[in-house]
C-alpha cells in the first residue's frame, strides 16, 4: 500500500527527517508516533506532496508519488494537523467543494450519510465559523472521506475532541479499517489511543526511525523492559515510547 | 475728436487714397437696405470647428436670427463649442450702428470679386464693436468679408460666400476666424494616458481658430420666438 525508502528532508543545516523507511500494509491501522518536532508532520506533508523530500522514495499502490501524484492523491484522504476549514462555508458546502476537488460530482444524499457518520448531520447547513473545534475535526474527517479513499492519512485526528468524540473517532477508524478495508495511517500524541486502535506502530525520534513494530510484538518487548509496575496494559506503549525517546 | 484725429493720422500715414467715387455711407445704406429685408430667419446649417485644441465632429445646427441683433446657434444634435464672436456673422451688429464714422479705404479682391473696403469706427464708447472693416461687393451690395474687433471677444474675421439666398443678403457659407487662448489644465489634473501624441510640440500662446458654417436652408421672415434667444 505505502512504501517509504530513505526519506530525508533537510531545511538548510537542519535535518527534519533522516533516512526514514517504513511500509504500511493494506487494511492496517498504522500508528505514527514521535515527540513534538520529531518529524511526524514533515513526513506526513511529504507523503501528501506538500513538501518536496531532499532524498528518498515514496511509493503508494506500487507507484511513485513523484510521477503519479494525481492518481495517488485521488485515492488518499487526509487531515493535516489542526484542520482549518472555510469558516464562511457550511459542512455540506465543504463536502461539495472537496468532492469537486477530487473530480467527483457532489452527491447530497451521500454527503448527508457521511455527516451522519461523523455526527454532524444536525448542523449540516450551519457555517463552520459557528462550530466547536471538535466539530471541525469531525468535518475534516468527513472531507477526507468524501471521495471514498482507500488510504486515510490522519494527523492528530482526535485533537479538540471531547471524550465521547475521541471514542467515536476511535470506533470510526476501526470500522473504516475492518468493515470497509481502508488503510489508515494515524499520528497522535495520545499514545493510549494509538495503542487501542493501531495494528502496527512507527516511532520516530529526531527525524529517525527508532522502532517499527506490530502492537503484539511491542507488548511483548515492553514486558521485557520489566514494566510490571505499570498497572494497566494501556500504558505499555507510553512506557515503551518513553524508553526509546528518552535515550 | 481724438478718435477722428487718429483716424486721419492713420489714413494719411498709411498712404491710403480715399476713393472719391465711392461714398461709404451710401454704399452702406444700400447694403443695409438689402439686409433689412430679413426680419428674422431660421436656418439649418452644418458647423465645422477647426481649433488647435478642439477635436469636434461636424455638427448639425440651427441658426436663429431676429432683427435687430439677436442671433443664436443651437445644435440640432450633439455638442459644439461656438465662438462667442460668431454672433457677428449677423452684420446688423455693424450695419445697425447709429453713431459711427465710415471711411472708404480702397478696393480688394475677395474670391475674384473687386470689393470696396469700408472702415467703420463707432463713435460711441459704449459699443462693444471698436472697429470694423467691411469688404463690400458694390454690384450685388453684399459683404463678402468683414474684420470686426470687439471689446468682449477680440477680433473676428468673417468670410461669406453667397448663393441661393444672395438676394436676401444671406450667405451659404460663413468662415469665422478668431483668436484663441491657450487651452491648458494644471498638470496632474486629468492624469492623461501618454500615447506619444502630447510629445509633439504644440505651438504656444494664442492661435487662430476657425469655425465654418454651411447653410442648407433658410426660413425667412416666418417669425422666431423670443424664448429661443434666452
Amino acid at each position: 500500500m505505502l512504501s517509504v525508502r530513505g526519506l530525508t528532508k533537510r531545511f538548510g543545516e537542519f535535518t527534519a527527517v533522516d533516512d526514514l523507511s517504513f511500509n504500511v500494509e493494506q487494511g492496517q491501522v498504522y500508528g505514527f508516533l514521535g515527540q513534538n518536532g520529531a518529524g511526524k508532520s514533515t513526513t506526513i506533508r511529504m507523503l501528501l506532496s506538500l513538501i518536496r523530500p531532499t532524498a528518498g522514495e515514496i511509493n503508494f499502490f506500487g507507484q511513485s508519488l513523484f510521477t503519479h501524484r494525481k492518481e495517488i492523491l485521488s485515492q488518499i484522504g487526509a487531515i493535516v494537523e489542526k484542520p482549518d476549514l472555510y469558516k464562511y462555508l457550511s459542512a455540506m458546502e465543504h463536502l461539495n467543494l472537496f468532492a469537486r476537488f477530487g473530480g467527483h460530482r457532489p452527491d447530497p444524499k451521500k454527503h448527508v450519510l457521511l455527516l451522519e457518520k461523523v455526527g454532524l448531520a444536525q448542523r449540516a447547513n450551519s457555517r463552520v465559523g459557528t462550530y466547536s473545534q471538535g466539530m471541525r475535526q469531525r468535518l475534516a474527517l468527513a472531507c477526507a472521506l468524501v471521495n471514498d479513499p482507500s488510504l486515510l492519512i490522519l494527523d492528530e485526528p482526535t485533537n479538540g475532541l471531547d471524550p465521547q468524540g475521541i471514542a467515536d473517532m476511535r470506533q470510526l477508524i476501526r470500522s473504516l479499517c475492518k468493515e470497509q478495508g481502508k488503510t489508515v495511517l494515524v499520528s497522535s500524541h495520545l499514545l493510549s489511543e494509538i495503542e487501542m486502535i493501531a495494528d502496527r506502530v512507527l516511532i520516530i525520534h529526531k527525524g529517525k526511525k527508532v522502532a517499527e513494530e506490530s502492537m503484539d510484538s511491542l507488548t511483548e518487548k515492553a514486558s521485557q523492559l520489566k514494566l510490571q509496575a505499570l498497572p494497566e496494559k494501556r500504558y505499555v506503549l507510553e512506557a515503551y515510547f518513553l524508553s526509546l525517546t528518552s535515550q | 475728436m481724438l478718435r477722428l484725429f487718429w483716424i486721419c493720422v492713420l489714413l494719411l500715414g498709411s498712404g491710403w487714397k480715399v476713393n472719391a467715387a465711392i461714398d461709404p455711407a451710401t454704399l452702406l445704406a444700400g447694403v443695409k437696405k438689402k439686409y433689412d429685408l430679413v426680419r428674422d430667419y431660421t436656418a439649418s446649417a452644418q458647423l465645422k470647428t477647426n481649433v488647435l485644441f478642439i477635436k469636434a465632429p461636424l455638427s448639425q445646427v440651427t441658426v436663429y436670427y431676429k432683427r435687430p441683433d439677436q442671433l443664436k446657434i443651437k445644435n440640432q444634435k450633439g455638442i459644439s463649442f461656438v465662438p462667442k464672436g460668431t454672433v457677428n456673422i449677423n452684420l446688423n451688429n455693424v450695419l445697425g450702428l447709429r453713431n459711427f464714422e465710415a471711411i472708404a479705404a480702397g478696393t480688394y479682391q475677395v474670391d475674384g470679386v473687386t470689393c470696396e473696403i469700408i472702415k467703420i469706427f463707432p463713435l460711441n464708447d459704449e459699443e462693444d464693436i471698436t472697429r470694423a472693416t467691411l469688404y463690400v461687393d458694390p454690384t450685388r451690395l453684399l459683404v463678402l468679408k468683414s474684420i470686426i474687433s470687439t471689446r468682449e471677444s477680440g477680433t473676428y474675421q468673417i468670410a461669406m460666400q453667397y448663393g441661393a439666398y444672395a438676394s436676401w443678403g444671406l450667405p451659404d457659407r460663413v468662415l469665422v476666424e478668431f483668436n484663441t487662448r491657450e487651452f491648458k489644465l494644471p498638470k496632474g489634473t486629468t492624469l492623461d494616458y501618454d500615447n506619444g501624441s502630447s510629445k509633439v510640440d504644440a505651438p504656444k500662446g494664442p492661435q487662430k481658430g476657425k469655425v465654418e458654417i454651411l447653410y442648407r436652408t433658410y426660413t425667412i421672415n416666418q417669425g422666431v420666438a423670443d424664448a429661443i434667444f434666452r
Partner: protein, 294 residues
C-alpha cells in the same frame, strides 16, 4: 479538473462576505459621484473650461451627460480599484496559508499549477464582474440619470468631442482594457501572495507598488520619464483613456471610429499582457516548488 477547481474557487470567493465589500464600495462611490455631479456638475465642468469661457459659448448642460459622468467616475475610481482587486487576489494563496486551508487544497489530486491557474482565473473573473458592476452603475446609472449626448473629454492640452453614436464601443473597449490592466494587478497580487503566509502582506505590498509607480509617473521628471515610466505598468494601465482620444482630419473634424495613435494602445496592451504572463509564470514556478509548511 480545471473547471471543477475554478468553480470551487469562484464559489469560495462569492460565498465570502468580504467579496461584496468591493461591490458595495463601488456602488456607493459611483452614487456619491453621480449625486455630486448632479448638484455641482456645472462647477466641475467650469474647472476644465474656465480658460475658454471668454472665447466660446460653453454648453455646460449638454456636456454634463451620462457619458461624461461615466468617464469622470472612471477617472476618479479606476485608479483605486487595484486595492479592491488586491483584496481578493492577494488573499488567494497567502490567505489560505494563513487560515491553514492551503495544505488541504494542496493535498488534493489537482496539480499545483492547475490550482494556481484556477485561482488566477477566478481572480480574473472577479475583476471582470467588478468591472461589469461598475459599468452597470457608472454607465447605465449615469445614462439613466443624466441622459445621452456627445461626449467631451478633457486632456491637459486639448479637448475631444465624440459624437454619441461613436461612444458606446469606446466604453466597451475601455472596460475590456481596464479588465486587462486589473488582471495584471491580480497577477501581481497573486505572485506576492505566493511568497507570503499572511494575506495582509501581499495586499499592502500590491497597493504600495501601484502607489509608488503612480507617484513616479505623476512626478513627470526626466530621470523617470526616460527610464522607468515607459515600462511602468501604471503608465500603461491608463491606456483605457486612450479609447477616448479621437483622431481628427486636417480640418479639425473628428473621425468617427478613430483612436489617436492606436499603436500606442496596442503596445500598452501588449506590455500589460506581458507583465501578467510574467507574474503568473513566476508565481507558478515558485508555488510549484514551494514547501507548504503552514
Amino acid at each position: 479538473m480545471f473547471g471543477a477547481i475554478l468553480y470551487t474557487e469562484l464559489f469560495k470567493i462569492f460565498r465570502r462576505p468580504r467579496t461584496y465589500i468591493s461591490f458595495g464600495a463601488i456602488a456607493v462611490i459611483v452614487l456619491l459621484v453621480q449625486f455630486a455631479l448632479r448638484v455641482n456638475g456645472t462647477e466641475f465642468i467650469r474647472f476644465f473650461t474656465d480658460s475658454q469661457a471668454d472665447t466660446f459659448e460653453i454648453p455646460e448642460s449638454q456636456i454634463l451627460n451620462g457619458y461624461f459622468v461615466c468617464v469622470a467616475i472612471l477617472h476618479l475610481i479606476l485608479i483605486h480599484v487595484p486595492l479592491l482587486v488586491a483584496l481578493i487576489a492577494g488573499d488567494m494563496i497567502a490567505g489560505e496559508a494563513q487560515t491553514g486551508t492551503l495544505r488541504m487544497l494542496a493535498a488534493q489530486p489537482a496539480s499545483r499549477t492547475t490550482l494556481l491557474l484556477a485561482k488566477f482565473s477566478a481572480s480574473t473573473i472577479y475583476v471582470i464582474l467588478l468591472l461589469l458592476w461598475m459599468a452597470l452603475f457608472a454607465l447605465g446609472g449615469s445614462l439613466l440619470l443624466f441622459g445621452q449626448e456627445d461626449l467631451v473629454v478633457f486632456r491637459e492640452t486639448d479637448l475631444h468631442i465624440i459624437s454619441q453614436q461613436d461612444v458606446l464601443w469606446r466604453f466597451i473597449a475601455a472596460f475590456i482594457y481596464a479588465a486587462l490592466a486589473l488582471t495584471m494587478i491580480a497577477a501581481l497580487a497573486l505572485l506576492l501572495s505566493v511568497f507570503a503566509e499572511n494575506a495582509l502582506g501581499p495586499i499592502v505590498a500590491t497597493v504600495c507598488i501601484v502607489i509608488v509607480f503612480t507617484i513616479l509617473q505623476q512626478l513627470k521628471v526626466p530621470v523617470f520619464e526616460q527610464t522607468i515610466n515607459p515600462w511602468s505598468f501604471t503608465t500603461h494601465m491608463l491606456g483605457w483613456k486612450g479609447f477616448f482620444y479621437v483622431e481628427k482630419t486636417s480640418e479639425g473634424v473628428t473621425i468617427n471610429g478613430s483612436v489617436e495613435n492606436p499603436m500606442a494602445l496596442v503596445r500598452s496592451g501588449a506590455i500589460l499582457i506581458g507583465y501578467t504572463f510574467l507574474f503568473v509564470l513566476v508565481a507558478e514556478r515558485v508555488y510549484r516548488k514551494k514547501d507548504i509548511l503552514c
